[in-house]
């Protein structure tokens, strides 16, 4: 699904922030990406979601080399990858419903064709009664669930989540983890970047540990 081979990344002429990364994200797999702050977790996630290109090595996403991939083909590939940002990145002028529906709207689909799906997903993540609310008045947990719903609405094959439980209390973090596990059970590969040891201990999964730009894998 996603394969890294001896990947390195540096910004400008600086030192490499990621070094010799080699790993695979298999279909229907579940993994935590962890490491101390500044280890490069967010940078690695940006490589995974194709918003950065490596300065060396090979990254293939769905068997396509991201370095040589024509720009015009990037959007189609990105639609197969759902991303949940640490800061949610919800659009404040759009309602929860419109935010979640955004990935389908950019495909040019009629609202009538996806309304039921969006409503169902919002109910699934517990936002059924907040569909017309604007993000500024949502709580941190509600924003997080809206961001997750937006990442899932396009039925991506892989979900990347950056600190998805960083802004929520432990009970909600547990509930969100259950959501990710359920999603994985339904066939989506999941990568959760977190430094919350407690969260990782709640579910036995592969761990990718970043330290000073190098990766250790604990299956």
């Amino acid at each position: 699904m996603i394969r890294f081979e001896n990947v390195g990344l540096r910004y400008g002429m600086g030192a490499e922030v990621l070094r010799d990364l080699s790993f695979q994200i298999a279909p229907k797999s579940f993994q935590f990406l962890t490491g101390p702050s500044g280890a490069g977790k967010s940078t690695l996630l940006r490589l995974l979601c194709m918003s950065l290109k490596p300065t060396r090595g090979l990254i293939t996403v769905f068997d396509r080399d991201v370095v040589t991939l024509p720009k015009a083909e990037l959007p189609a590939l990105r639609r197969r990858v759902g991303v949940v940002f640490q800061d949610f990145r919800l659009l404040d002028h759009l309602t929860t419903f419109e935010n979640v529906a955004l990935p389908l709207r950019v495909l040019g689909r009629e609202e009538a064709s996806y309304r039921a799906d969006v409503v169902e997903l919002l109910k699934w993540v517990g936002l059924g009664d907040r569909m017309q609310a604007l993000p500024p008045i949502l709580s941190g947990g509600e924003k997080q669930r809206a961001a997750i719903a937006r990442a899932l609405i396009g039925q991506p094959e892989i979900l990347l989540a950056d600190e998805p439980t960083g802004n929520v209390d432990p009970p909600l973090a547990k509930r969100l983890l259950r959501l990710f596990v359920e999603l994985n059970r339904l066939g989506t590969s999941v990568v959760i970047a977190t430094h919350d040891i407690g969260l990782m201990n709640q579910f036995d999964a592969r761990r990718l540990v970043l330290h000073e730009g190098r990766l250790s894998i604990y299956d």
């Binding site: 918003s51 189609a76 590939l77 940002f85 759009l94 309602t95 040019g108 604007l134 937006r150």
Partner: protein, 327 residues
């Protein structure tokens, strides 16, 4: 302010009409908020700039139309009249030569009439320089023959000149060609200057739109970033911005064009009221009725539409370039 239901954001009449024809917004679709909010674009300032540009472009077009029409009218008047001059030559009866020249001219096809000016008419022509009470017999003044042309294209001026040179002593033909040539040159120069000014106005409009689009892209960086992550094509993102700019361009263009058209209509109205006054006659002599006519008004409308479309295309290309640079 919590829910969208509490935030009525209905588009205006022009917005509703545009909403039906623009890509990306479909009929019968429930009102989804625009992905790029209108408030995030410096719309009012840009619209005023576009309105001013459109106003200047329409004024230029109107001025060029006026000068060209006036020039054509002058040329038409001038080419319908030629003058034959019979200079006094020693030992030759100038009156008889003038009569002969009149007959030759009158016999040419396409000539409506040929008439030698009477002595009193010549005296009147010279009065500003020589004063009144002249005895024309004492002065070696050429005889002038005014020839009115029914059809300027049918008159063989070269043949007439040859006949006059051969048969009439001291005769020469003035077909006012040097005047018409100067008028044509002036009219052409005016058109070229006008087109150049129009070009400059369009370039300034395009540059304003490029700056405004870049500003809009910068202030909506987060939205563009999210659209990228959810897999939006560059064409979709460009369309979201283009929609706003087409609307702004059309609105500004129509405002400016309406202002220019109103100005011409008001000037034309006041000129028509001042007919028979010396000032009015002078302006009328230069510019006719100061009316740009239906062609001028259609031209103003065309400029408004052109500016709207140009604004949309410019913003679209600017978005594409910006997206290509951040990929």
């Amino acid at each position: 302010m919590t829910d969208r239901a509490a935030m009525p954001a209905r588009p205006g009449p022009l917005g509703r009409i545009l909403g039906r024809v623009l890509p990306g917004r479909r009929r019968n679709a429930p009102a989804m908020a625009p992905i790029v909010p209108a408030q995030s674009i410096a719309g009012r300032s840009l619209m005023i700039v576009i309105a001013i540009m459109s106003f200047l472009a329409c004024l230029t077009l109107g001025a060029v139309t006026l000068v060209r029409d006036a020039s054509l009218a002058w040329q038409d008047d001038i080419v319908r009249e030629i003058t034959i001059q019979v200079r006094p030559v020693d030992g030759v009866d100038t009156v008889a030569e003038a009569k002969k020249a009149t007959e030759i001219a009158a016999s040419m096809p396409g000539v409506a009439s040929a008439r030698a000016l009477e002595d009193w008419e010549n005296a009147k022509l010279l009065e500003p320089w020589l004063g009144s009470g002249l005895d024309m017999a004492d002065l070696p003044i050429p005889h002038l023959i005014v020839v009115e042309l029914a059809d300027p294209d049918a008159v063989d001026l070269i043949g007439l000149t040859a006949r006059l040179n051969g048969e009439v002593k001291g005769a020469s033909l003035d077909d006012h060609r040097s005047w018409t040539d100067r008028l044509k040159t002036m009219a052409n120069a005016t058109v070229i200057i006008g087109v150049s000014i129009l070009g400059l106005v369009f370039v300034a409009t395009v540059l304003s739109v490029i700056f405004a689009t870049r500003g809009a892209m910068a202030s909506n960086r987060d939205i563009v970033s999210v659209l990228h992550y959810v897999g939006a094509e560059a064409s979709f993102i460009a369309r979201e911005f283009q929609r706003h700019f087409l609307f702004l361009g059309l609105k500004g263009g129509l405002l400016g064009a309406s202002g220019a058209a109103a100005l011409f209509a008001i000037l034309s109205f006041f000129l028509s009221r001042s007919i028979a006054t010396p000032e009015g006659d002078q302006v009328s002599a230069l510019f006719g009725r100061f009316a740009i006519g239906p062609t001028g008004y259609l031209g103003a409308l065309a400029i408004a539409l052109l500016i709207g479309i140009m604004t949309a295309i410019t913003s679209r290309l600017t978005v594409y370039r910006h997206l290509a640079s951040i990929e």
